[in-house]
């Protein structure tokens, strides 16, 4: 695996370039916002001098490139700045919320696999029959339903009406179920479709026919022969999910009062708290880059025909 080391280095280099590009684009977008952070912090009763004083202390009076370079140089030292509204270090805010988001992602990945894989296998086995059609329609609904609606619906039915789960919040395993399910339904839909087609491919292979000819039972063929091959391409996709979830957590965390970085981002956007928006964007970008990287590195292990270049 001599090639792997070179490959990883190349990818890290690319990732750094991507991250710098992201800081630049985000910075430009936030710079162009018609909101004046200094005035926002100062409040409406502040005198013009107070606003100007705040602007200077935050370096907002500097030209764009100078502000950007200042941001980059502190970023290199691991300093994401201080929140305008919450008056706390952004790093501290993000670190305090990261565990919740990671837990939610782990829960969501479990949910989507638990839903998607069995459904996909069943659909493949019952191809063309009622179960197949029903699963494919449901998966279509799962993929297309807005998560805000799904979240509120699950909350209303299972927490408010039936009282099986707490109405939002964080802390116990029971708190995790509904938000993880909301996120997992989307992925579950995708996975059932992928699993179905992957399974169908494998079931058409010669070795399956051989196994059948040798008299292996349906169950044995599915679990021992087919599943092990069919599931490999799916595993490689999990890395990509991490990126997809980054947008989902903003909505789901807000609906369920889940104290993760998605909720932090949503609050910051509403209050134009620029340092937090920058920080969360960077962290989200990191997630996506790392997720894609993992997906690429895992791929050749599960399918030796894929080569890293």
């Amino acid at each position: 695996m001599k090639g792997l080391g070179v490959y990883v280095l190349k990818r890290i280099g690319q990732a750094l370039l991507i991250m710098i590009g992201i800081t630049l684009i985000t910075f430009i977008l936030l710079y162009l916002l018609p909101a004046d952070p200094a005035r926002q912090i100062a409040g409406r009763s502040a005198t013009a001098e107070t606003v100007e004083n705040i602007r200077r202390q935050l370096g907002l009076h500097l030209p764009f490139y100078e502000q950007y370079l200042r941001y980059l140089s502190s970023l290199v030292q691991g300093d994401l700045g201080r929140s305008y509204i919450q008056k706390t270090e952004v790093t501290e805010l993000i670190l305090s919320r990261l565990p919740a988001t990671l837990l939610l992602m782990a829960g969501a990945i479990s949910c989507e696999l638990l839903i998607g894989l069995p459904a996909g296998i069943l659909a493949a086995v019952k191809r063309g029959k009622f179960a197949d059609n029903a699963i494919m329609i449901l998966s279509f609904v799962g993929v297309s339903a807005p998560q805000f609606v799904v979240g509120i619906l699950l909350l209303y039915v299972f927490a408010v009406q039936f009282g099986w789960f707490p109405i939002g919040g964080y802390g116990t395993a029971a708190h995790l179920v509904l938000p993880a399910l909301t996120l997992g339904l989307l992925g579950g839909g995708w996975y059932s479709r992928m699993m179905r087609s992957s399974m169908l491919d494998v079931l058409r292979q010669d070795y399956i026919r051989t196994a059948r000819a040798k008299g292996a039972g349906q169950m044995r063929i599915l679990t021992v022969h087919a599943l092990r091959n069919a599931i490999l391409p799916i595993i490689a996709m999990i890395g990509l999910d991490v990126g997809i979830f980054m947008s989902g957590v903003v909505v789901v965390e807000s609906v369920f009062g889940w104290p993760g970085i998605g909720q932090l981002a949503w609050q910051a956007i509403q209050r134009v708290d620029i340092p937090i928006i920058m920080g969360v964007t960077l962290v989200a970008a990191c997630f996506i880059v790392v997720g894609n990287f993992l997906a690429d590195v895992i791929a050749p292990f599960v399918d030796p025909r894929i080569e890293l270049k």
Binding site: A35, I41, G43, S45, T50, N53, K87, R97, P259
Partner: protein, 542 residues
């Protein structure tokens, strides 16, 4: 200088320590807890910095100032002060502080702390949004300019006496001492935590800070050494943050939480309000808020008084109130009804399109004219602007709506020749303290009619301004009623000139759980939002 002991009439309600709560303290037991929900994380609990609806009343429960308000009212009472002397020229205020008031760290609060705290707010390094409130204290300009680190106008006479010297008489000074920016903080705690003091607040208030888990909850515990016996009522208040208002409502209906900090979500408002089961749980009250349309008197044709009066008659305020599901009452003058100085006998301009059209014709605009109406672009403001646009169209005024981001509209309002009309929704003036003065200077006075100012009508009337200055100079507590009368006339005079069309005053609707008790007034307290945390009590602890 002849000193004037606070007049008897004034001291009758001023010197008694918060009469309304005395009965409460006797009858109601302490104990129990409550949960308040909020969507946003608490930003900071530093009294020099915090300036939003969420932290404003939380800070009031952690800290004390020299002055305060009687719970549920706009009536000033003494808090840390036990007596005061106001000089007859209104330029010197001397306060004797209560003895034995302790900070949460156990140290006794003294006059030095009062001086330090206000200087900290005014110091430009603190970046306090409230520094400007203290402009009347002598030495303010020098400190703002960075020439000194202290305010020459605050003198520590002895450990329990502090004297303020003002550079101009200002009847609002006692109100200024009651706002959060004047609250007293211990220097050693501020030095210890630095910029993180807002996350580790140490005050002398009814509650102490117990736990702050970022993104999840803030917990207050009862201060067992609080100087006011019998207060606060609750043993613990938990503020749960990150709660969507809709989800918070569901939880309240299930009995899991006690107060909706962000109010009833608009989408559910009518349903919840009209449900008879909620009749005892929703308290309605006034706010120190007015929503209005400004007409820029420096831009044609709004330089013509008749045009401005016609606009006042053209707007169907009842319909606008219906658009926001009745969460407001129609307004006919700048002051909100909850504000001292509101004129209950004044009827304003009645809705009368025919008369408005006639007035417009008299002014030479029989065929109407084209203009622009600026409004903030978040719901419900564009819908309200459209309703006003239709009303104006009915009398021939063709207004184009400019629906823009908040800061863009504020910028446009602060330029003399940009925005002919602005609907103030989302940016409307909400008083910082319950005194009519706070509703004049920045938004209707000559001082606010400057580039970047908040007087978006650019209306400046030297006669009215003179009366306003005169009213604010009436610092003698015995003349308080006379002063309010003068303010009342100021706002009625303004209405005759009609630089604004007042549209409505927003109402507050606080929803609480069955288990919370207390007079209705503390649930719609004009200064404490959503509830007066120190006096609300738990029925299950009785």
């Amino acid at each position: 200088m002849k000193k004037l002991l606070a007049a008897l009439t004034f001291s009758a309600f001023l010197l008694a320590p918060v009469p309304g709560t005395v009965t409460l303290a006797d009858d109601i037991k302490q104990g129990g807890s409550m949960i308040v929900t909020y969507k946003d994380d608490v930003s900071t609990l530093d009294p020099a910095i915090g300036y939003d609806w969420q932290n404003w009343s939380m800070i009031k429960s952690l800290f004390n100032g020299i002055m305060d308000y009687k719970p549920g009212t706009t009536e000033l009472v003494m808090d840390l002060a036990e007596s005061m002397d106001i000089a007859s020229d209104g330029l010197t205020y001397e306060f004797k502080l209560r003895k034995g008031v302790k900070f949460h760290n156990g140290r006794e609060l003294t006059a030095d702390d009062v001086k330090y705290s206000i200087e900290r707010t005014v110091n430009p390094k603190t970046l306090s949004p409230g520094a400007g409130f203290f402009g009347m204290i002598a030495g303010f300009d020098d400190m703002t300019a960075g020439k000194t680190e202290t305010l020459s106008g605050i003198t520590v006479v002895d450990p329990h006496t502090v004297k303020f010297t003002l550079s101009r008489p200002d009847a609002t000074f006692l109100h200024v001492l009651a706002i959060n920016f004047a609250f007293v903080v211990p220097k050693e705690a501020v030095d210890k935590w630095g910029t993180d003091f807002g996350k580790h607040p140490v005050g002398s208030g009814a509650y102490t800070m117990d736990e702050w888990t970022l993104g999840q909850r803030v917990v207050f515990k009862r201060n067992p050494d609080y100087y006011r016996a019998g207060l606060p009522k609750m043993d613990q208040i938990t503020f749960e943050v990150g709660q969507e208002p809709l989800v918070a409502l569901l939880r309240l209906q299930r009995g899991e939480v006690d107060i909706l900090g962000d109010g009833i979500p608009p989408a559910k408002f009518l349903e919840v309000k009209n449900d008879p089961a909620n009749a005892n749980l929703i308290v309605e009250g006034g706010q120190l808020h007015t929503g209005y349309v400004t007409m820029n008197v420096k831009m044609k044709p709004f330089d013509n008084k008749k045009v401005r009066q016609a606009v006042n008659m053209a707007i169907n305020k009842d319909r606008v109130v219906r658009i926001i599901n009745g969460r407001a009452v129609p307004a006919n003058q700048p002051l909100p009804p909850a504000m001292p100085g509101y004129d209950t006998s004044y009827k304003g301009y009645a809705f009368d399109p025919a008369k408005a059209k006639a007035l417009l014709a008299e002014a030479g605009f029989a065929d109407g004219f084209d203009t622009e109406l600026y409004a903030m672009n978040t719901d419900p403001n564009p819908r309200i602007a459209q309703a006003i646009q239709q009303d104006l169209a009915a009398i021939g005024i063709r207004a184009e709506i400019k629906s823009l981001a908040q800061s863009t509209v504020i910028d446009a309002g602060g330029k003399a020749d940009q925005a002919p009309m602005i609907w103030s929704g989302g940016m409307a003036w909400i008083a910082d303290f319950p005194d009519p003065s706070n509703f004049y200077g920045p938004i209707l006075g000559c001082g606010g009619a400057v580039p970047g100012g908040w007087n978006w009508a650019w209306y400046c009337n030297q006669d009215i301004d003179g009366n306003a200055t005169k009213a604010d100079g009436m610092t003698d507590p015995a003349k308080a009623a006379e002063r309010i009368d003068l303010w009342r006339s100021v706002f009625i005079d303004i209405m005759d000139e009609a630089p604004w069309a007042p549209v409505f005053n927003e109402q507050r609707f606080t929803m609480h759980s069955e288990r919370l008790g207390g007079p209705d007034a503390i649930f719609v307290d004009p200064v404490h939002i959503p509830v007066h945390y120190d006096t609300v009590y738990a029925k299950d602890a009785q």
